[in-house]
């Protein structure tokens, strides 16, 4: 019998959040190529959960995953629609966020300062469950459109 560690469970839940968010987000057609590029930056804690996400359907195309340890050149993530920054390293996350256009890319992070730093969605732990909150300052200011149902579910 193999069982799943707490971290394994957490990242499966987060992977499911990524999948679900993409059902409620519309990127502007000009940036698309039939695929939704989801870029994971930082230590890959998702493991096989990413394999499950790879190739699944969203309204605007199939999900393609790219994993980066670090972003040294903005070009590397030019084609990303979604950017997920793993971990709670403030300095690292700020460096990555500074290299992207936060109005074009749906950025998702997992530590308390993420939204203050300009990220769009923060996933956080609340009483043994994972919840999310949305950056109110960016709502309506981005190139991509987020459905109202998603915004209302965030905390």
């Amino acid at each position: 019998m193999t069982t799943t560690s707490a971290q394994g469970v957490v990242y499966q839940i987060k992977a499911s959040y990524i999948y679900n968010f993409l059902q409620f987000v519309r990127f502007s057609e000009s940036t698309l190529s039939g695929r939704i590029n989801v870029c994971i930056v930082g230590e890959n804690k998702f493991g096989e959960a990413l394999d499950v996400l790879e190739g699944t359907d969203t309204p605007q195309g199939k999900i393609t995953i790219n994993v980066f340890d670090n972003i040294t050149e903005p070009m590397q993530i030019d084609a990303c629609q979604v950017l997920y920054i793993v971990g709670s390293d403030i300095v690292f996350s700020q460096q990555v966020l500074d290299k992207i256009n936060k109005e074009n890319i749906l950025s998702i992070g997992e530590f308390p300062e993420f939204i203050n730093m300009g990220g769009y969605i923060e996933l956080f732990l609340n009483d043994d469950s994972i919840r999310f909150r949305v950056n109110q300052k960016l709502v309506g200011q981005t190139q991509f459109k987020v459905a109202a149902q998603l915004l209302s579910l965030g905390e």
Binding site: M1, T2, T3, T4, S5, A6, Q7, G8, V9, V10, Q12, I13, A15, S16, Y17, Y19, N20, N44, G47, E48, A49, V52, L53, T56, S88, D89, I90, F92, F111, P112, L125, D127, D128, S129, I130, R131, L150, L153, E155
Partner: protein, 616 residues
């Protein structure tokens, strides 16, 4: 790549394939909706809970969330919510806490640890609950095993093991500021700050201050004050390789030492430092090396104890075919100076002791992992009782819808410094030997519809060589047995409402040898175990911001102490005002007027407390 989450206490009882390389999907990643994701509970889906469900022992874990809901301010308060743990408030600063009988101020059959560091006092046995404290908001969980933990934890884990585990520094980042005022627990202030020191290194520092009023004007030397500061650093050296450093310093008083009041005053202070290094090597063997230094200073009327403990433990875990092997060695050095006045009744005053130990346990998985057979043995050599061998055998069997487990263990309780070295005229403790226990347990665990979980345990413990008071000193002329049944139910009445119902029934029969001069001692101990106890705990999330939790408990009479049976209620109302700010109103011991729990002279007062918390 996975960070393995193995807790020390659970290595005693589970063998789940900890070295599995991949995490099985436990949720349908593309088939779970957002609202479903909101309500998924991580611990119930993860290995830890699955390991608990298969544990071949009577285990219970009090989670961070439950500790938070109950609005408790000390560890002793938190232990009330754990099924099978007898908690009696002796006075405003003292507690009698035990498992399966033998309770008292110096309850000596329970091993208690904080992050693997023993807080059991080798001086007089038992735990000075007033001096051992943590910031409860930073506690990850409290793990309790009822029954002997000898094969891994060694001597003195006779009736149970409690381990209070604090959160890693990464999980306690930022500011936490908490202030509480109450009628009885007059003040509690917690302050903590956590930050990232470097890449992969996180740290926190904290300070805690507590004050409690005395019981009444008549019984008034039991008020207390306690101050504590500490830190924790967690460094992730690499994947599956991490280092933790932590330490605390504290000082506190109970009442006034020089007071002539009926209850003694007490002063205590101390500090400790712990290093813990865990890593997994290329052959997938997990290693753990832990060392700590613990210094304590205790002053009570007529006795002053200064004590230093150095402890180092090494443990490894390895999977080999169907065997999950755990083993380790340990060394402890204790130095103390015990001064008694006005005459020397503890001899020698200064003593250096050593304890060396080694243990090994094999968990054999058979029948496609449905049957587990666990064999373990610990060897210990100490300077009070010499060589001790502590074997245990456990088994668990997964039936289609439930789990059955059984265990046999031998445990010992080693004489304490005071018991062994007391010399007063002809009265001496030099002939005292270890107390022994032979324990059989049977358990059954079942879950219905993912909503109702029942945990039932039946046990029979045979004790011999229990301490007795004779003309020429302490001897071991008491023996007997304790039988009992413990039922623990967890019922999810609604997604936002969990109820726990815990019941226990036990009988204790002790007798003294015919040549003993103190048959009364055995009778007294017998009458200090309540025959029946019941707890109903309700945890209700009214909505996203409001929570209401209530706790009804019933404890049967303690005939020896002339304490009547009683029932009482605790309740808390919690308002999460914003992401970082919450307010909690907690009422304790309400519902039936004041009652006594251990001493007829000491009524346990009703308390109402308001707690404000800012931070995460």
């Amino acid at each position: 790549m996975r960070k393995l989450f193995v807790s020390q206490i659970l290595t005693l009882v589970f063998s789940a394939n900890v070295l599995a390389k991949s995490d099985n999907p436990v949720i349908d990643i593309t088939g779970t909706s957002l609202t479903e994701l909101f309500n998924l509970k991580i611990t119930s889906l993860s290995k830890k809970k699955q390991a608990l469900d298969k544990a071949a022992a009577a285990v219970y874990v009090l989670t961070h969330d439950e500790i938070d809901r109950m609005g408790v301010t000390t560890i002793a308060d938190a232990l009330r919510y754990i099924p099978g743990v007898e908690v009696a408030n002796i006075d405003a600063s003292r507690w009698a806490i035990s498992i399966r009988g033998f309770n008292g101020l110096a309850a000596n059959k329970l091993l208690v640890m904080i992050d693997g560091r023993s807080i059991y006092s080798p001086l007089f046995s038992g735990v000075i609950w007033a001096e051992k404290d943590v910031v409860l908001a930073d506690v990850e969980r409290i793990e309790v095993i009822r029954g002997p933990g000898g094969a891994i934890w060694g001597a003195n884990a006779v009736n149970g093991v409690i381990n209070i585990i604090t959160r890693k520094a990464q999980a306690t980042q930022g500011v936490l500021l908490e202030a509480g005022v109450g009628l009885e627990q007059s003040k509690v202030v917690n302050a903590r700050y956590g930050w990232q020191v470097a890449k992969d290194t996180y740290m926190r520092v904290y300070a805690k201050h507590r004050q409690h009023n005395s019981t009444s004007e008549q019984f008034n030397n039991d008020n207390n004050r306690h101050n504590q500061v500490g830190f924790r650093v967690d460094y992730d050296i690499a994947n599956d390789n991490s280092l933790t450093l932590q330490g605390d310093i504290y000082s506190g008083v109970i009442g006034e030492l020089s007071s002539q009041a009926t209850t003694d005053g007490q002063e205590q202070s101390g500090g400790n430092f712990l290093v813990n290094w865990r890593f997994t090597d290329d052959d997938n063997r997990q290693h753990k090396l832990q060392g700590y230094y613990d210094k304590t200073h205790l002053i009570v009327p007529m006795l002053e104890d200064e004590r230093e403990i150095w402890n180092i433990d090494y443990q490894f875990e390895q999977q080999w075919q169907q065997h999950a092997l755990v083993g380790g060695v340990g060394y402890r050095s204790l130095q103390d100076e015990v001064n008694t006045t006005p005459f020397d009744f503890i001899v020698p005053k200064v003593r250096d002791d050593e304890v060396i130990s080694a243990f090994i346990q094999d968990d054999l998985a058979l029948l496609n992992d449905d049957l587990h057979l666990i064999f373990g043995i610990k060897y210990e050599h100490n300077d009070y009782s010499g060589d001790e061998w502590l074997p245990n055998v456990r088994m668990s069997y997964q039936l289609p819808k439930s789990l059955v487990w059984a265990a046999w263990s031998k445990a010992v309780r080693v004489p304490t410094r005071v018991e062994s070295d007391i010399r007063y005229g002809p009265f001496s403790g030099e002939r005292l030997e270890s107390e022994r226990a032979n324990v059989y347990e049977l358990g059954w665990r079942k879950k219905w519809l993912d909503v109702w979980q029942l945990d039932a345990t039946v046990y029979s413990a045979q004790y011999e060589n229990l301490l007795s008071l004779e003309a020429d000193g302490y001897r071991n002329k008491v023996s007997g047995d304790v039988q009992g049944i413990e039922l623990s139910n967890s019922i999810q009445l609604q997604p936002s409402w969990l109820v726990r119902l815990n019941l226990s029934h036990a009988t204790m029969n002790l007798s003294t040898a015919s040549d003993s001069l103190s048959p009364d001692g055995a009778n007294i101990t017998q009458g200090q175990m309540p025959r029946n106890t019941a707890q109903v705990i309700s945890m209700w999330d009214i909505n996203k911001q409001w929570k209401f939790n209530s706790y009804l408990r019933y404890v049967d009479e303690l005939t020896s102490n002339n304490i009547d049976s009683y029932w009482t209620i605790d309740a808390t109302l919690q308002w999460q005002v914003s992401q970082r700010f919450s307010i909690k109103l907690a009422a304790r011991n309400i519902g039936n007027g004041s009652h006594q729990e251990w001493d007829t002279q000491v009524p346990v007062q009703q308390d109402v407390m308001l707690n404000l918390r800012w931070g995460i």
